[in-house]
Subunit: 341 residues, 2 copies
DNA sequence: CTGAAAGCGCTTACAG
DNA sequence: CTGAAAGCGCTTACAG
C-alpha cells in the first residue's frame, strides 16, 4: 500500500476515463463487458478503493445513520442496535451510535446532524430528547428521515416503532389475576419517561377491569434500574398491608426488588409474585426465574431500520403519523404463583 | 432552514472572503477582532454549519473512530464503548461502532477502513479478528492508529489496553485457598479467545502455587455466556468427586452455573463456592451475590481512547509494543465461603 | 457505450 | 491580517 491510489490511477491503468471507472463501480450495467473487465482488473491491480469523503461531497449524502440513545452504557439498547446495524450494514450504511448528550450542548437542534453532513437519517431511542430539538427538522427535506424506536415523545409528529407496552402491562395484570391475586402493586419507570405512563395507565386499567385492589402506597417509584428495585423492596417491607403480587416495569427493577426481599425473608413466589418487563437474557437464569413480558428488541431494531431505509430510498413518501407496534408476550416462569392461604 | 447555506453565503454576508470565514472558524486567533465579530455574526445570521464531507475531503481526515466488537448485542462491551465515546466526543470525534463481521467479507483487510476514508483510527475489541486483516496496516502510515482494547491477538504487534487478567485469576484462586478450599475447578471462556488462555493458565499456576487439587474433569468448557455456565453445571452434577469451589471466567457463566446448580439442590456457598469475573452490574443483585473479579470497563475504554487520541495528535510517535494493563480487584460477596465439613 | 468538463463545499499555501 | 486561486477525489449531466 504505497501512496493512496485514486480513480485517476485506475483510469490510466485501464486505458479509460475516470467517468468510465466510476460507472463501472457504481452502475456496471451501462458499461460494455470488455471495458468492465479491464476496469475491474485495473481496480484489482492497483488496490483502488473509493474515497468516501469525495463521493459523499459529490453525491450529497453520507452513507451513515445516527442512532441516539439515552445512555450508551445501558445494555438494554444493545439488542436494538444489533437489529439496526444488521439491516443497515447490508444496505451499505454505517451506523453511528451516540449518547443523546453527545449531539451537542443542551438544546442543540437535531437538524444540525443533517446540516453538518453527519448522517442521512436519525433513529431516536430517547424520548427525553427535547421536542424543540426534534422540531428543528420540521419543514425541512429531512423531516421524514427521523424516526423513533422504543421510546417516543407525545406530539412530536415523528414516526415511531415501539413495543406494545399497553398490552404487555395488561397481560401481566391478567396473569396475576388469573392466578388468583386480588391485591397488586407496581414498580414504575422514571417519571419523565413515556413508557412509564403507558405501562402504569394500562396497569391501573387492567386492575380495575379485573376488580383488583390497588392502593397508592403499592405503586413504587423507580427508574428501570436495579437499585430502584431494591429501594422499592425497602418501601414494600415497611408496608402494614401488602399486596400479594407486584408488576415491575422492567426486569432489572424486578431483580433488584426480589434480591432485597429475599434478604428480608420474603419468598418469591411463595409470599409474593413478581412479573417483570423486557425479558432480558438473564431473566430465565435469575432465581426464581422471572415471569416477564418479552420485548423483541432485535426485531424492533430491524423494523425500525427497514422503515428508515425505505424512506431513504423513496424520499417523497411522507407519513408523519406512521406508528408500528411490535407485539409482546408473557413468558411464564417461576416468580409467579397462586397467592398463599 | 431554507436552502443549505455555504461558506460562500457567509462570506458575502460578512463582506469578507471564504478564506477568512474558514480561518475564523478553525483558527480564530489569526483573524482581527473586528473581522472575527463580523464573521461570527454572519454565521449566526445565516445559520451556517460546516459541511463535513467537504472539510474531510480537503483535510484528508474523517473525524471518526471505528470501534470493532465481536458482537454488538453483547452488553459486556457497552461500558467500554461508553468510556471510549466519552473521551472522543470531547475531542470532537464521532465514534462508529460496528460488528467485526460488518467491516466486510471474511478476510477484509483492516487497511480498507483507512483507504475508504471511514475512520482516522480503529479500536479493536475483538481478538478473533484475523491477523492477516490487522497486518494489512503494517508498514502504512496508519499502522499506529490501530489499537486493541480488552482482547488482543498474540504477535499482532499492535498496542493493547487490557485488564490484568492474570492477576484476576490469581486473586480468585488465592481467595478460595484462603477460605480453606483444597479442590477447585474452572469454567473456561471460548477456546479461540485470548482471555481464556491467560485466565486458565493463571488459574493453574495459582492452584499449583497453593498446592490445590485440580483435576481435568473439573475444568469445564464455556463461552462466557449464560447457557454455557448452565452446561458446566450439568457436567458438575455428573461428577463422582466434586471440587468444593469453582472459578468462572465470566460472571454470566457463574450465574448460569449457580442457577442450574440451585435447581439441583446444590447450595452456593454452603456446598460450593463460586467466583466470577467481570463484576457486571447484576453481580451484587444476584442471589447469592456474586464474589467476582472487578474489571473497570469504563476506565479501560477511557484509557484506550486517550491513547489513540494522543497518537492521532502526534502521528510520529510509534510504539508498537505499547501495553497498558488496568488493575482488577476481587470483590467479596456471598457466593464464596469456607468449605463444609 | 464513452469522454471532457464542471462542480460538490471546503481549506490552505502563496502572495501581498 | 486578508484574498485569489488551486485542489482534495469523486460523480454526472451533456454531448457525441
Amino acid at each position: 500500500m504505497s501512496e493512496t491510489v485514486k480513480i485517476q490511477d485506475v483510469a490510466k491503468a485501464a486505458g479509460v476515463s475516470t467517468a468510465t471507472v466510476s460507472r463501472t463501480l457504481s452502475n456496471p450495467s451501462v458499461v460494455s463487458e470488455r471495458t468492465r473487465k479491464a476496469v475491474l482488473e485495473a481496480v484489482r491491480a492497483t488496490g483502488y478503493r473509493v474515497n468516501r469523503a469525495a463521493r459523499n461531497l459529490r453525491t450529497q449524502r453520507t452513507g451513515s445513520i445516527l442512532t441516539l440513545i439515552p445512555n450508551i452504557g445501558n445494555p438494554f439498547f444493545s439488542q436494538i442496535i444489533a437489529g439496526i446495524e444488521q439491516v443497515f450494514s447490508e444496505a451499505e450504511y454505517s451506523v453511528l451510535v451516540s449518547d443523546t448528550a453527545n449531539i451537542g450542548p443542551a438544546g442543540t437542534p437535531l437538524s444540525h446532524v443533517f446540516q453538518d453532513g453527519r448522517a442521512d437519517g436519525v433513529i431516536v431511542l430517547d424520548g427525553i430528547l427535547p421536542l424543540s430539538s426534534i422540531e428543528s427538522v420540521k419543514g425541512t427535506p429531512n423531516e421524514h428521515l427521523v424516526i423513533y424506536a422504543c421510546e417516543w415523545a407525545e406530539g412530536a409528529g415523528i414516526p415511531s416503532i415501539r413495543s406494545d407496552n399497553r398490552s404487555g402491562a395488561i397481560q401481566a395484570v391478567n396473569h396475576l389475576a388469573d392466578l388468583g391475586h386480588r391485591a397488586i402493586g407496581h414498580i414504575c419507570g422514571p417519571e419523565d419517561n413515556v413508557l412509564t405512563g403507558v405501562r402504569r395507565a394500562a396497569f391501573f386499567e387492567a386492575a380495575e377491569a379485573r376488580g383488583l385492589d390497588v392502593r397508592p402506597e403499592w405503586v413504587f417509584p423507580g427508574d428501570f434500574k436495579l437499585a430502584s428495585g431494591a429501594a422499592a423492596a425497602e418501601a414494600f417491607l415497611g408496608l402494614k398491608e401488602r399486596p400479594t403480587a407486584v408488576f415491575s416495569a422492567s426486569d432489572l427493577m424486578a431483580m433488584g426488588f426480589i434480591s432485597r426481599l429475599s434478604d428480608a425473608g420474603v419468598r418469591v413466589p411463595e409470599d409474593l409474585s413478581v412479573v417483570g418487563f423486557d425479558d432480558i437474557d438473564l431473566a430465565p437464569y435469575f432465581r426464581p426465574a422471572l415471569t416477564t413480558i418479552r420485548q423483541d428488541r432485535m426485531e424492533l431494531g430491524r423494523i425500525t431500520a427497514q422503515t428508515l431505509l425505505s424512506r431513504l430510498r423513496r424520499p417523497t413518501e411522507v407519513q408523519p403519523d406512521f406508528l408500528h407496534i411490535v407485539p409482546v408476550e408473557l413468558v411464564e416462569r417461576a416468580s409467579t404463583a397462586a397467592p398463599a392461604r
